[in-house]
């Protein structure tokens, strides 16, 4: 499938984080049918389509200046939308479930400073942090799944019925897994190993989808499909019911860490990706550009 034998672990982690970021907070949503099966089906159906798509896209070279700028601008707007989604998720989650008495603007301002600073540090610093952040998040998700074992009710999972509503859920999950992780694509450097990058990205999406399955399964096996679908933040609420012996009875902090880390890294990646996409416009003041991009994401998040 891929000619390269090597893997770029930074890209693997960035892609996995991209898949997980908002999905791990909000899925399963209301009216999602058989969410565990839907994630698995979405990955299996979406993967071949995605590989064909990126193969086709990587062969296209746009030399026309105006066309290149237009395409870059449109993609930039989409990536900015993804960034705003992460801002929105953080604002909603922390204001409704964690810091209920803190004004949303204060939460968003702190997050804004964090993302802006990460973006100023540059791609290499963010990628290194992505590696560390992803490892911590992946370990925590696995450990929490093990801890939750005694809370899980296998009878809560229903056999998927291959109806229209199930495939609607699958289609939605395909978009979440493959389309909402597209801010990684511009990180493929000119002159870099294209095969290595694509292979790493596909593997990263696979790892992300696997962890997403674990997150969704955890929520569904604790609350059931209907009840977890009604919740605003099912995974976080599921974690709040876990305990480790009599000493560690509140593990909510781990959920806060997972959600904040995922969305912080996703936002930083989106801003850097946006910066790269806007490079044909030859904007000289880098910090001003990054500041404006962060500010636009912040403002856009209010509209979502």
């Amino acid at each position: 499938m891929f000619k390269s034998q090597k893997l770029d672990f930074h890209t693997v982690c960035a892609a996995a984080i991209s898949v997980l970021s908002t999905a791990a907070v909000t899925l399963p949503a209301a009216n999602d049918k058989s969410p565990i099966a839907a994630v698995i089906f979405a990955f299996l159906i979406g993967l071949p389509i995605y590989i064909i798509f990126i193969r086709l896209v990587s062969k296209i070279s746009i030399y026309n200046g105006i066309l290149k700028k237009t395409v870059s601008l449109l993609l930039g707007v989409f990536v900015l939308y993804l960034c705003a989604k992460s801002f929105h998720t953080v604002a909603e989650y922390f204001s409704l479930a964690v810091l209920t008495k803190t004004p949303v603007l204060l939460i968003l301002s702190t997050f804004f400073i964090l993302v802006f600073y990460a973006a100023v540090c540059g791609g290499d610093a963010v990628k290194k942090f992505t590696l560390l952040g992803f490892l911590a998040v992946a370990v925590l998700i696995i450990v929490l799944a093990v801890i939750s074992f005694k809370n899980l009710e296998l009878s809560l999972v229903s056999r998927p019925k291959f109806s229209g509503s199930f495939f609607k859920t699958v289609a939605k999950y395909i978009v979440i897994i493959f389309v909402f992780s597209s801010e990684i694509l511009p990180f493929q450097k000119k002159g870099g190993n294209k095969e290595e990058f694509l292979k790493s990205m596909v593997l990263g999406i696979g790892v992300g989808a696997l962890l997403l399955t674990l997150v969704v399964a955890n929520s569904v096996l604790v609350f059931g499909e209907n009840y977890s679908g009604e919740m605003a933040f099912p995974y976080s609420f599921a974690v709040s019911t876990f305990s480790l012996g009599t000493l560690f009875t509140r593990l909510d902090g781990f959920a806060y860490f997972i959600i904040l880390t995922l969305n912080f890294l996703k936002s930083a990646l989106c801003i850097l990706s946006c910066e790269y996409l806007l490079s044909p416009f030859k904007i000289k003041h880098r910090k001003t550009l990054l500041f404006i991009l962060c500010l636009l994401s912040l403002l856009l998040s209010f509209l979502l």
Binding site: L99, T102, I113, L114, G224, Y227, E230, F237, S240
Partner: protein
């Protein structure tokens, strides 16, 4: 220079946030609630709380407070006004349902408890003849008040699906939930029988 100031600023925010210096509450600055009780008295809902305060002998001093109103929200609001110190619900481990409650009252209370961020979804539910009386008497009998009552339910041989999230998920499936019915006999709380809640 700006970067160094930013690093210092962000580190400060993270440290302050992580060490709990923001939004903290001293336990003696509020009333720690161990149990919540709910009863129906005619047209009114009576909500009661058993508050605990650790004493020097390693035990807790319990106090039971109640308020009555037309609905749960109003009764809770009245209760908060009645207590001088704010109620700390984070350490609440159990909820007692009085025998006089209607099914709709219980469902409303479940939603009320679920929506309160400071109440844990693992809150243990049990039934009693009169929730207020039970809270009052168990506070006098047990050294650790409501905490000992919940330990008694947990250490019981029968498996109860009596946690808040378990009750809600079973009700979503239109299934009944088995809850313990507690009675105080000879200065001791015992599981008298089991009650099936919400079977359609």
């Amino acid at each position: 220079m700006i970067e160094k100031i930013l690093v210092f600023f962000i580190s400060g925010i993270i440290c302050i946030g992580l060490c709990g210096c923001v939004g903290y509450r001293e336990t003696n600055g509020g009333l720690v609630v161990a149990l919540i009780g709910i009863d129906r008295e005619g047209d009114e809902i009576k909500i009661s709380v058993q508050t605990v305060l650790p004493n020097t002998e390693g035990e807790v001093d319990c106090e039971t407070v109640f308020a009555k109103a037309k609905n749960i929200e109003k009764a809770y609001k009245k209760l908060r006004q009645k207590t001088v110190k704010p109620l700390i619900l984070e350490h609440c481990v159990g909820a007692s349902l009085g025998n006089t409650l209607k099914k709709s009252d219980i469902l409303t209370f479940l939603n009320f408890a679920e929506q309160k961020n400071d109440i844990n979804l693992s809150l243990n539910f049990f039934c009693t003849e009169n929730a207020y009386d039970f809270l009052l008497q168990s506070g006098e009998i047990y050294r650790q008040g409501g905490y000992d009552v919940i330990e008694l339910i947990k250490n019981n041989d029968q498996a109860f699906q009596n946690k808040l999230f378990m009750i809600k998920r079973e009700l979503y499936k239109n299934k009944g939930v088995k809850l313990p019915f507690l009675k105080l006999k000879d200065d001791e709380a015992v599981i008298d029988k089991t009650v099936i809640l919400g079977e359609s």
